[in-house]
Subunit: 305 residues, 4 copies
């Protein structure tokens, strides 16, 4: 049964206290998100620092997100491993935990030999054996420059258990959207920087780190597009781009966490080698959010509690 993936997805952050996963803080964040119009969550992704969690931590985090997800929300579980075997094994666990979708980044450690042929075989094997439908995750910024080609995505989009792609490449998904039959393959924008333009070209939604701190703003932008308010949408998109660049763009996950701390969530510290923001950097993040909320005060009420 095909799921409707349209809408905003938050790539859930993992709060740490003294380098341990803080399940209580995660639970409180989920309680707030569950009352927002978010479509769903991406657990164990890049913003979740999944590459730095051990297996037990990953299962605990995923379990908590699923338990607290709220009504009618979907959970996409990061099942990214360098081997097909690893991705399949975790997709089975995620399925047992109750996740809806498995997201798998392009393998990249052996970048030199990650040809179309290798990536297609990898994803087809994972999709054949995964009990969950699979989302491709194209993110050269995290994957050492490896990215999916149009040819590979067109081929993979025909697999019955591959349902879509999250595209975080800085060029955005426009090229893929022009080549893929989007009836059976949903494309999600992977950055707030190009969310509106991706919608214009056919994306059904976005997995946006900014939704971790400003979920209502992201949702409203989607709504404006759906209601054909293009001028308003452009203005909001530009404000969103500006704040996004000064938070996630400049500081990555640690910036998103500092922003969450400021808008009423529990961001907490990242895990080493990610460094927490300095006081000055933290102030810069807050200033960027203040500036955004001065222009759009309507998005400040819910997140701050």
């Amino acid at each position: 049964m095909k799921k409707d993936l349209s809408g905003i997805w938050a790539p859930i952050c993992t709060p740490f206290t003294h380098d341990d996963v803080d399940m209580e803080k995660l639970e409180r964040n989920m309680e707030i998100y569950s009352k927002t119009p978010l479509r769903g969550y991406f657990a164990l992704g890049s913003n979740g620092e999944a590459c730095m969690l051990d297996e037990e931590e990953k299962i605990n985090v995923l379990g908590k997100v699923i338990k607290k997800k709220g009504k009618d929300k979907l959970v996409m579980a990061g099942c990214s491993y360098e081997s097909a075997r690893g991705s399949i094994a975790f997709a089975k666990i995620a399925h047992e935990e109750g996740a809806d979708i498995a997201s798998v980044i392009t393998p990249h450690y052996f970048k030199k030999v990650m040809s179309d042929e290798a990536l297609i075989k990898f994803y087809e094997t994972v999709a054949d054996k995964s009990p969950l439908p699979v989302m491709l995750y194209n993110a050269p910024g995290f994957a050492g420059g490896v990215q999916l080609s149009v040819k590979a995505v067109v081929k993979l989009s025909e697999h019955p258990n591959i349902i879509g792609m999250k595209d975080s490449a800085p060029t955005g998904p426009n090229i893929f959207l022009a080549h893929v039959d989007r009836k059976n393959f949903s494309i999600l924008a992977g950055s707030a920087n190009f969310f509106l333009t991706s919608l214009v070209m056919g994306a059904v939604g976005g997995v946006l780190s900014l939704a971790n701190l400003l979920p209502h703003a992201c949702h409203r932008l989607h709504q404006m597009f759906q209601q054909n308010e293009l001028k308003n949408a452009k203005r909001l998109q530009q404000a969103i781009l500006r704040v996004n660049q000064r938070v996630s763009g400049k500081f990555g996950v640690a910036g998103v966490k500092a922003g969450m701390d400021y808008t009423g969530f529990y961001g907490a510290e990242p895990r080493l080698p990610l460094l927490p923001l300095s006081l000055q950097e933290r102030k810069n993040v807050q200033l960027a959010i203040d500036k955004f909320l001065q222009e759009y005060p309507e998005f400040s009420f819910t997140a701050r509690h």
Copy 2:
């Protein structure tokens, strides 16, 4: 107590049969290596496909390498995790298993924020808490382009529990060798392509994937350098570079494994997304080795059994 790291290290490959680690084949490879003049082994490195092994497989492989290492040989264990926490945890396991050194690649998933400050803090934290002495592993080809700066290496070389660096960047370690006090910090070349020139500039040895298939040739090159036979060394280095490029350079780990199959070891198949070589590719690897052994027949007798 400082260990002498001089000599040739083989970055041990992990043979798979039907996608499972084949411990028997690994054991037979180790039996041959144990009778060669190799200085030691790098277990759980890139050539060992460690990023695709689960924790249990890693411990089994490491245990086997240590058990079969042969007299007076050292074992460096890959303890590469994206988090300091993960690297420390595995260094403790490797220490219990009997490894001598912990090798840790630069973390790289969050490439954008891997500043000198982040990398220095990461390695200092790992070195503070690791029961094993730590080797830095600089390999931008695997680490998505992340590399250690001269400044970071100079700083880290002062840490009492950081004993050296393996450098696999295509430029070779010459710049580091000119800036670091090499009394307390040993640099190993990470590619046969620049082994001789690294020795000339002060490296003490090399971790060479070619040593997996042609250990004697690599050892002889080191010996020629030590005995000041520079003209012979140059000729052998050039032949080694040519075969290395056509095996590991062109095909990566799968090429090294095909080469091992040909010279009398058990390379076996790589794990997906690495693809095994096609028949034609396999022939090309064999031709490159044949060409090398025609020029240097003295290196053929031991490996073929």
Copy 3:
């Protein structure tokens, strides 16, 4: 007096016969273009192979484009030199020839030291001394990866003699559009791949190599956007992206020229080291155009003559 730059610009190709500029073929192309709804021309740009023309050839080509431009059309002249001195000198010549605007690519030979400071000083000096208003030209694909930062563009947009930017970076101009006051600074999309999305975000037009072969299709897309026919625009944009990728995207200038030959212009051969397309490549270009014209037959009548 501020000029309205809105619309489609063709980056005029330079036809060669036996390695000499073929002024007659250039003239015939201009005669056709002059009857199209193009806003203007970019002479001596990348598609004009300006980097391979000598000074005399450049002046002849520019003179011809200006003489044959047609009523109310603007001419932007490529004044790209590695030195400020060179750009200024040519801007004076272009002014005397009757050009309207000077376009200057980021200098890039000394990439390592092309800091914000250097690029800002360069452009400010050129703009101070150029008799023509200056357009920044951001094209990392031609400029060895050098690109203008948001900070540099914001600063340069305040200069009274800098009137805009053509952005050919694969990410498109969205980030610049969100940061620059666009009342006094016009941004043009530099690729048909992201033309519609650039318009949505505030670009006033595009300099599109595809306009060299399919000027009416490009113009119609702009019109659809202006008339708020967003669904039709999306469909046409996707078709344009597909043909653009198979012509300019795959083959560069030589592909554009082969496409021009097919749609009724004189593309002719490129200058070495650019290679003319093989017969098979030429057929692939023609097939891509046929496919586009099957979907949009209304754009075929004018160009074919």
Copy 4:
């Protein structure tokens, strides 16, 4: 008649006064160089800022270098143009001026299509028509990342009018040296960073920007290698690498010019967009040279006058 290219080549800088070429300062520099053991000069190269000189300036500079070259010294003239036509035309001029060799960098503006096929055709056409023997110039740092492949160099080395290659890629020429028949093809190291190791592997000399300020030190390193003083050579190479990094490595041409000012030559200012060094940067260059001369005082006497 084959020329012996062995030795140190200085890539002559072009001094500017108020943005004009200062022929008098150039002449004085040449008078000093002519009394050194330099093998020859590379005029109109990257360090000569040739890409920023107009045709008349280029001819004047080249003429001056040739006139003042000193007995038995060779002059290599930069004949780098994006088109084969341009390179051939200037090689004819350089020949008339009395140059010995034409050096041509890889064309790179159209990077995307600079295949082996295009580069081979380009160089073969230039070599066919150039009255001067041609040196390939591989310098991805200036050429936007374009570099010659082993396959292309092997093919081009067979052309009777291509006599060698200058390699400035950070990996150094070792891979080329292992694949090319060096009887008819001389390879020169293009950076002092890897001069000694290139000699060890078969290079015949180097075109070293450091020779502009410290010609005797560079020459002595070559001599040590020739006299098989490998330990002394290693120590000097490391000191040379350190000073080279802090001068040319950090600041490029402007750093080399500041260094020349300090060691008794006329560096003078670079041309915009190159920026002159700040006072602090200039001091850092001087400190680096002081440190080198403290370790090697024997190289200070000649340059300072």
